[in-house]
């Protein structure tokens, strides 16, 4: 406990530090344990998991669940679709959001206040599900991959974060100097502003990327063709749709219980497989989080 043994501390401070440490350890366990449990349960013998014998480390090592997942074509179709929607979608998001944010950050741009209002108003008021649904239907976007990419490709919250970043971290002198050298807005944006804004591009890019990867609603509402469905819809079918079978009438009988055990191991594996890509990106972008949220919290 090296953190507690600083010399010259009063007893009450020491007690305070201990309380803080215990609280933190509690929070840490509450959040981390379920995640850890999913990992060990996905590689353990399903009978041992379902009878509660797997608690701290894997028991009866088995990759059965993962084998089943690798042979399930639904998952790979979903995976492929989601990767396409995520890559294209995030590219379009950034392509539309970054230049717009740059424009709204230019103090000499006269229409900025009016345009800002048009954007911000949509955060507080919207047409609602049904008019939006009918519009997208009339535009012929239902049952098409473009419904994942084009609608709502500019998120106003991300727009504000980016604009505030451009406003506060691009020095005024830089633009003046570039302007003296005959640099146009296109050039200044592409060659100077963007390379200096890696932090905000990472944060906003991550928000968009996670949004696409986790998008379940669009598939649910607008897609009928199963071959176009994203991963989240496939996951719903695997994780939740056999719920009745798992918990209901079947679980009493031997056959039901048998199938249920395997179903659970597959579920643990699916949770890992589907969340893995995000967990892989997470450490790289994590350092920008606080910065990103801090910029965003500056009132627009």
């Amino acid at each position: 406990m090296s953190l507690l043994s600083k010399k010259g501390k009063s007893t009450s401070d020491l007690i305070f530090d201990i309380i803080i440490f215990v609280l933190c350890a509690f929070v840490f366990l509450i959040v981390a344990y379920p995640l850890y449990f999913v990992i060990i349960a996905s590689v353990s013998d399903s009978t041992l998991v379902s009878t509660g014998q797997v608690t701290l480390y894997p028991k009866g090592f088995s990759l059965f669940g993962y084998k089943e997942i690798f042979n399930d074509s639904r998952i790979w179709v979903g995976y492929k679709n989601t990767i396409i929607y995520t890559v294209l979608g995030t590219a379009v998001n950034l392509l539309f959001t970054l230049p717009a944010a740059y424009v709204l950050s230019r103090p000499e741009f006269k229409a900025r206040r009016a345009l800002m209002f048009i954007f911000v108003f949509t955060m507080f008021f919207n047409g609602g599900l049904i008019p939006t649904y009918l519009l997208i239907k009339e535009l012929g976007l239902t049952n098409s991959m473009w419904v994942f990419i084009l609608p709502f490709s500019v998120n106003v919250f991300n727009l504000i974060i980016t604009r505030t970043f451009f406003e506060t971290s691009l020095p005024k002198e830089l633009f003046e100097a570039a302007q003296m050298d005959g640099c146009s807005h296109f050039q200044f944006f592409g060659k100077i502003a963007l390379p200096l804004s890696k932090a905000v591009i990472s944060v906003v890019g991550l928000y968009y990327l996670v949004g696409h990867w986790n998008d379940f609603f669009t598939g649910l509402i607008y897609i009928r063709d199963y071959s176009l469905q994203p991963l989240q819809i496939v996951l719903r079918d695997i994780l939740l749709a056999n719920q009745v079978f798992a918990e209901g009438a079947g679980s009493g009988g031997a056959a039901g219980g048998y199938a249920q055990k395997y179903a659970d191991q597959i579920k643990y594996g699916v949770i890992i497989v589907s969340t893995l890509p995000i967990l892989l990106v997470y450490p790289f972008i994590q350092k920008y989080f606080e910065k990103g949220v801090m910029i965003g919290s500056v009132k627009g």
């Binding site: 090296s2 953190l3 305070f16 530090d17 803080i20 440490f21 933190c24 929070v27 840490f28 959040v31 379920p34 449990f37 999913v38 349960a41 379902s50 509660g52 392509l95 539309f96 230049p99 717009a100 424009v103 000499e108 741009f109 006269k110 008021f125 919207n126 047409g127 609602g128 049904i130 008019p131 939006t132 649904y133 519009l135 084009l150 302007q179 003296m180 005959g182 146009s184 807005h185 296109f186 996670v210 986790n214 609603f217 509402i221 989240q232 994780l239 939740l240 719920q243 798992a246 918990e247 249920q260 055990k261 579920k267 643990y268 949770i271 589907s274 989080f289 606080e290 949220v293 009132k299």
Partner: protein, 324 residues
């Protein structure tokens, strides 16, 4: 005004392209000519917002019209408040309102203080590495998708095979946490806190990081205990952030998350889990009663908007803090 910087005293060289620097006084035409690159850059965003946000707002009039497939979004016959009356008179109205308000109030009452407390605790951790570890861990669940989150609840809380289900039954709780009316709201709210309290604490941690270190020093000199420092230095520092976030969450009082509730619904908990958002989906998208569900949706939006304005007014009155 003109693009010339007033601080630059010497006249700008004429070789600079006119796209950026106007030679004459700025007129509308002149600024447009000067700013055409800026207009081009913002155009895609404007188009997307107008099509997907403003056209549906225009389409809200559907709530006052009889939807007609042949005449499109706004061509149906005007029926006034017919569908609003139908909703208020319907047997579902009381249940939907109760469920929606109960779920969202519980989420606000328990979910609002959680990140604040968490931030205050994390902020007290002296050991850098441990602090970083906790932060990394508690932010993580925020990135789990709703489907996986509910799937996680299902496997962990299952009374037959889940680890939490086992613990609950060994403690004598004889409830199926997934399929009972009593457990639905607690499971919904607590899992929501589990998933988002860490992430939501970032903004408070940022506010705490910007506290003037001199304040801590003078508190120390005055003999304040650590607890008193939290009470009299840390807490006041995050009050403005708290108020803004509280106004925003009150503006969403009837916006319970559709996805999570929809995914958690089953026939056994439906009496307490049917909310306005899921009902609009079922009536509108599944049963194609477009005008009726648009009216319910608009009713929802208007109440939210009213709450937002009211909370903002109150906050402005008492603390001089306001959204705009």
């Amino acid at each position: 005004m003109a693009f010339l910087n007033p601080q630059t005293t010497k006249p700008i060289d004429g070789s600079i392209p006119s796209a950026i620097v106007p030679k004459k006084k700025a007129t509308v035409f002149n600024t447009f000519k000067r700013d055409y690159q800026l207009w081009l850059m913002i155009l895609p965003a404007i188009i997307v917002i107008i099509i997907f946000n403003y056209i549906p707002m225009y389409g809200i009039q559907l709530a006052f019209r009889e939807y007609d497939f042949t005449k499109g979004l706004t061509g149906g016959e005007w029926v006034g408040l017919k569908y609003f009356k139908q909703f208020i008179d319907s047997f579902m109205f009381a249940d939907l309102m109760t469920n929606t308000v109960v779920i969202s109030l519980a989420t606000i009452i328990l979910g609002f203080p959680a990140p604040i407390i968490l931030a205050l605790i994390i902020n007290q951790v002296v050991w850098k590495k441990w602090k970083k570890t906790i932060q990394t861990t508690v932010y993580l669940p925020h990135f789990i998708s709703m489907v996986v989150m509910v799937g996680l609840l299902n496997v962990l809380l299952s009374p037959n095979s889940g680890v939490v289900g086992h613990i609950a039954s060994s403690l004598g709780f004889d409830v199926n946490l997934l399929a009972s009316e009593k457990a639905f709201v607690p499971v919904y709210v607590l899992s929501d806190i589990w998933q988002h309290a860490g992430w939501n604490s970032i903004i408070y941690l940022a506010a705490l990081a910007s506290v003037d270190p001199e304040l801590y020093d003078s508190a120390k000199i005055d003999g304040a205990s650590r607890w008193q420092t939290i009470r009299y230095v840390d807490l006041p520092a995050i009050v403005p952030t708290m108020i803004i976030l509280f106004i925003l969450s009150m503006g969403n009082i009837l916006n319970t998350g559709f996805e999570k509730i929809f995914l958690m619904q089953n026939p056994l908990n439906l009496p307490v889990s049917e909310v306005i958002a899921t009902y609009v989906y079922k009536i509108g998208i599944i049963s194609n009663q477009f005008s009726y569900s648009a009216a319910i949706g608009l009713f929802n939006t208007l109440i939210n908007f009213a709450f937002l304005l009211a909370m903002n007014y109150i906050a402005k009155r008492f603390s001089n803090i306001s959204l705009w």
